[in-house]
Symmetry: C2
Subunit: 269 residues, 2 copies
């Protein structure tokens, strides 16, 4: 590994759980001797990537990272960071792909992309995604902050005959999203739409939004479901990456199980 790579690697040891690190601890974490570690820290400090806390002399991340993040956010903002993935998702599925973001306790649409494959298409023109009635909303309930569940159960408005109407039914739909890694709305918000969603994560490591495919329900099939699910997983990984995050291991595991051939045949049987 080059000296530059070793230097950059030191930054990965700083986290919310370990925001300040003393030289000896850093040597131990990086498994390097004091002279080498100190030399690497000097390069990082000179460039503003770390600074010493004047009170403790421990190292912490420096202010230059705020400027770099600002430039990155201007270069690849949330919407731009989702668009290429949405376009591929619409192409691969022939249906409408879209991404939503959670702000406070509300799920808002951010961007959508229709496929030209069919004459009938789902159009995403709503102001917010009701938590209990949409695939995006169920993803937020399953993978977002727990307070969302209280907000959802306070308003179980019926949009269709299939909208969940009790707290118990909602809990079951959310648990199913947690178990499989996919939120599903089968005509529960609009009579003609069958939607599947997966969560997207950002630099906080927390749920940031959902990426979804809204299919015209009359052409939804098991084959289409398989195609949508595997492409949703790729889209979530890509958008999460662009937003500075990664899908957590437990969600990757749920997806892997949902997408395995044995699981698919079980479902089909």
């Amino acid at each position: 590994m080059s000296s530059a790579a070793k230097t950059l690697e030191l930054l990965a040891h700083f986290s919310s759980a370990r925001p300040e690190i003393g030289l000896s601890t850093l040597c131990r974490l990086a498994r390097r001797d004091k002279a080498t570690t100190y030399r690497h820290l000097q390069a990082l400090e000179d460039a503003g990537f770390v600074e010493q806390n004047p009170a403790t002399k421990h190292y912490r991340l420096g202010p230059i990272v705020l400027q770099l993040a600002q430039t990155r956010e201007e270069t690849v903002p949330r919407k731009a960071g989702a668009e290429a993935a949405l376009s591929r998702l619409a192409d691969a599925t022939g249906e409408t792909s879209h991404v939503s973001v959670l702000s406070g306790t509300t799920v808002y649409p951010l961007a959508s992309c229709e496929s030209p494959k069919h004459g009938t298409r789902a159009i995403i023109d709503i102001q917010t995604f009701p938590l209990h009635a949409t695939a995006s909303g169920l993803c937020a309930l399953a993978f977002g902050p727990s307070k969302l569940m209280d907000v959802a159960t306070e308003n179980l408005q019926a949009y269709t005959a299939k909208t969940v109407q009790t707290a118990a039914d909602l809990e079951q739909a959310v648990q199913s999203a947690r178990d499989t890694g996919f939120g599903r709305s089968d005509r529960s918000y609009e009579n003609e739409i069958h939607s599947l969603s997966v969560p997207v994560f950002d630099q906080t490591g927390l749920f940031a939004g959902a990426v979804s495919v809204a299919s015209v329900a009359t052409r939804f099939s098991q084959d289409l479901e398989r195609i949508i699910k595997s492409n949703l997983v790729s889209a979530s990984r890509e958008i999460s990456h662009n937003w500075g995050g990664t899908p957590p291991a437990d969600i990757e595991a749920a997806w892997a199980k949902s997408l395995s051939p044995s699981h698919a045949s079980e479902t089909a049987s």
Copy 2:
């Protein structure tokens, strides 16, 4: 310069004005040959600091900087990034120091620190700083977004006999803040308070807030003004640094002129 330092230096070429850079351009900007620059970019790319735009193959900042900024923000949040400077400012002046932040078109208090030197002290217990009547507000008008001036002139509420009451007088007070680099409220918000303020900048390069000293007006003097002003300048530099920014050159120049001995004697004469 070490290889690590040269590698880190490449990141400084990315900015809002130049968010994506091709290899040849980067070689020219960094004044290095293609093989070296490519090797440095590889180290940055492996660590997530840069990535190639799949469409153009040009390099841009990578998503890891979002995670680092998040950790930095948790480690040294705005308030924590101001507290040490406020404490030194209160000690050096014997008066109350405080920092305010601009959000939208409103200036809010963020943190304050009283000095134990005197029995009478300014207490910062207001909800927002009126733009036209306070030193922090005048800093926002002088160095913040231009739309603030419209908001301010719509509400010229009189707090004391010395509050500015006309758009022309307000324009003059704002121009004086621009010329000197200091906002001043001489009993214009409260009858007993004489305040001086300087702007603080963050990672956006824009006005983020103000750091101020609120003195008990009866003990304000030319000597105290000199002490407050020079310590305010240090405090602004320190807080701006912690917030990822730097005071711009024209403001540093205005401060230098205000603090020069010749200027002081002119004022005194």
